[in-house]
């Protein structure tokens, strides 16, 4: 079985995000880039399939040279092959899905695993679009995956319960938190990754269908307020604030 895992490089949640001078993109200075956590579940699932069913795992990311970091990390975790598709991995979801589809088509993959969304962007669009562009079955926001022969059974979380989806391979499955517990890279894995190469190719596919027009940060939180006076008057003004300003009473 051949599995492709699509990885996105995203800003670390601990990064203090700044808007660039153009007013519609992220200022990349001081941003620490990591693998999107949902993609880590996808990758872990692929590596478990490698261990249990001798799958061959290829990882791909769309991006620039720094994208090699997520690929190297995936190789250290156990992926067999890694490809950097050179192009804009941060922009329009349709363009990303079409570049991935153009790459994956005709390569004989049985399964494509990806995160159900890229952390931060939260579009949840690339996985479903990729399945549509390839004409494959799909299951999204998956918390449990079983394969048997040429079929899959996926459990997904829905409002108030869970749902099981069955379908045939090839398929696109997008991972949700809960699918598994990703492992740490072992030092041996890191050393083994050094011996593997990262292939590079230019991304092909359709042009972007949309673009960011503006990016703004949420308004700064107002400073905390200190209530003055004795306990009784503090309680009184707190009650007033909760009722009239916070409107929680």
């Amino acid at each position: 079985m051949k599995i492709l895992v699509a990885l996105k490089q995203v800003p670390d949640t601990e990064t203090k995000v700044k808007v660039a001078a153009d007013g519609r993109s992220l200022d990349p200075t001081d941003v620490k880039w990591i693998t999107s956590p949902y993609d880590e579940y996808a990758l872990e699932e692929a590596i478990r399939l490698k261990e249990s069913a001798q799958a061959e795992v290829t990882v791909v990311t769309l991006g620039d040279d720094k994208g090699k970091d997520v690929l190297r990390n995936a190789l250290a975790l156990g992926a067999d092959n890694a490809i950097l598709l050179k192009g804009d991995g941060q922009g329009d979801a349709f363009a990303v899905a079409s570049a991935l589809a153009a790459f994956a088509k005709d390569k004989g993959f049985d399964l494509i695993l990806a995160g159900n969304k890229g952390m931060g962007g939260d579009n949840s669009a690339v996985g479903p679009m990729l399945a549509e562009l390839l004409g494959w079955a799909q299951a999204n926001v998956v918390v449990k995956l079983e394969l048997s022969g040429a079929t899959f059974r996926a459990e997904r979380e829905i409002e108030g319960g869970s749902e099981a989806v069955e379908g045939s391979l090839p398929a696109v499955i997008t991972a949700q938190k809960g699918l598994n517990e990703p492992r740490y890279a072992s030092l041996k894995g890191i050393m083994a990754a050094k011996k593997k190469t990262i292939e590079e190719a230019d991304a092909t596919g359709l042009p972007a269908a949309s673009a960011w027009s503006a990016l703004t940060l949420p308004p700064a939180r107002p400073e905390g307020r200190k209530l003055e006076g004795d306990a009784a008057s503090q309680a009184k003004s707190l009650f007033g604030l909760l009722r009239d300003e916070a409107k929680v009473l």
Binding site: D12, E14, K32, D69, R72, N73, A76, Y184, A185, S186, L187, K188, I190, M191, A193, K194
Partner: protein, 396 residues
């Protein structure tokens, strides 16, 4: 709530230190950091308070190849560079000196001598198991009456008929002693000091735990008692070294890791103090705005930075097989000393909060008191450097 201030994502990097690392070295550091943030910081204060070692991490660290990681792959190890190994120690000690001590002992003081001085059978038998964390080792050199001067040790091994040795003596201050499956015991013989592998459960061998420590509380420290312990020469005696240079060679390896590790504890304390100083308001200003606190912070970050560059250069020399034990002495002496001082200053910046286990600072500070003394005291390393530059030994 352990270490709210300790999960900072970045190493303190004032002088472009990270830019001097290879991709693989950066990845090793990140992997170790990730592990420490998720598995160590949430539990370590409780273990330190309870005086218990987090034993559930032993296997996990083995799976991640944290033990003896710069030894070759054929013995189940990762084959890391010395710099990558140092970065691992830095991150582990950012968690706790006890955890780093565990790994130092297992890797540098147990696996390394088996690798360097052991027979091929001993290596094949012990190294993969030790690397995986399936068995734990300890290193018995210090004795009640011989600390800085281990050459005077009283523990004695005598050859017996039938390829056996009889060992008698007492070791003290032995990290991991009580939990170890195998001890490397250094003893006087007719041929000078020799090393022996003594397995747990061998008749006459016991390892009672030392209690009442105010330092390295999340680490097991023990006595080793050997009363007419009989061991088999082929299994037990490390054939390829004689004399004090045997144990000293191990210590050079471990001290190298300690010189990196101590900075991890210092980094955690510095970042904690910086964050605290920026957020603690007194007299209507953050205390970080006052010159006295800035002087401390400036001193801390400067010494931390100098320490990083010192061990990085030492690591590069070690990778090129061009380092000397006296250079390792300088790194151990300097870095542990400044790390301890950084923690002490951090403690003062936190005021009363500095003594609480909600912050990692006092734990690190107390831990480093042991690190200052073990593996050659600060003074002994000073005298080694003195001897190196003058040619005159001042310690005897």
């Amino acid at each position: 709530m352990a270490g709210a201030y300790a999960t900072f994502n970045h190493i303190t990097d004032y002088m472009g230190f990270e830019g001097l690392l290879s991709d693989e070295e950066k990845m090793v550091r990140e992997a170790a950091r990730d592990f420490v943030n998720k598995e160590v910081l949430p539990i370590i204060e409780k273990h330190a308070q309870d005086q218990t070692f987090p034993a559930h991490l032993i296997k996990k660290m083995g799976e991640l190849s944290f033990y003896g990681p710069s030894l070759p792959e054929e013995y189940g190890c990762a084959g890391l560079s010395n710099v990558a190994y140092g970065l691992l120690m830095y991150e582990l000690e950012r968690g706790d000196s006890g955890l780093r001590s565990f790994c130092s002992v297992q890797g540098s003081l147990v696996m390394w001598p088996i690798y360097a001085y052991g027979s091929e059978e001993q290596k094949r038998y012990w190294l993969p198991k030790l690397a995986a964390g399936e068995v734990v080792g300890c290193f018995g050199l210090t004795e009640p009456d011989f600390g800085s001067n281990p050459g005077g040790m009283l523990t004695k091994a005598v050859k017996e008929p039938g390829g056996k040795w009889r060992i008698n003596g007492t070791k003290m201050w032995i990290t991991n002693g009580t939990v170890a499956d195998v001890a490397i015991v250094w003893a006087q013989t007719e041929d000078g000091i020799r090393g022996f592998l003594v397995e747990k459960g061998t008749p006459g061998f016991s390892a009672p735990e030392t209690h009442g420590k105010w330092s390295l509380r999340a680490s097991v420290t023990s006595e080793l008692v050997l009363e007419d312990v009989i061991v088999d020469e082929a299994k037990s005696l490390l054939p390829n070294v004689k004399g004090l240079k045997g144990p000293l060679g191990c210590l050079t390896q471990a001290r190298y890791g300690i010189a990196w590790g101590a900075l991890g504890a210092a980094d955690a304390s510095y970042q904690c103090a910086l964050d605290y100083a920026l957020n603690r308001i007194q007299f209507d200003k953050p205390i970080a705005a006052y010159q006295l606190q800035q002087e401390k912070l400036a001193w801390m970050v400067t010494e931390l930075t100098k320490g990083q560059l010192l061990v990085l250069q030492l690591g590069r020399l070690k990778d090129a097989k061009k380092f000397t034990p006296a250079q390792v002495s300088m790194a151990k002496m300097n870095n542990v000393n400044v790390a301890l001082e950084i923690c002490r200053k951090a403690r003062t910046i936190l005021g009363a909060n500095g003594i609480l286990d909600e912050y990692p600072v006092m734990r690190h500070m107390a831990n480093l008191e042991s690190v200052y003394t073990y593996e050659g005291t600060h003074d002994m390393h000073t005298l080694i450097i003195g001897q190196e530059v003058t040619g005159l030994p001042a310690y005897r």
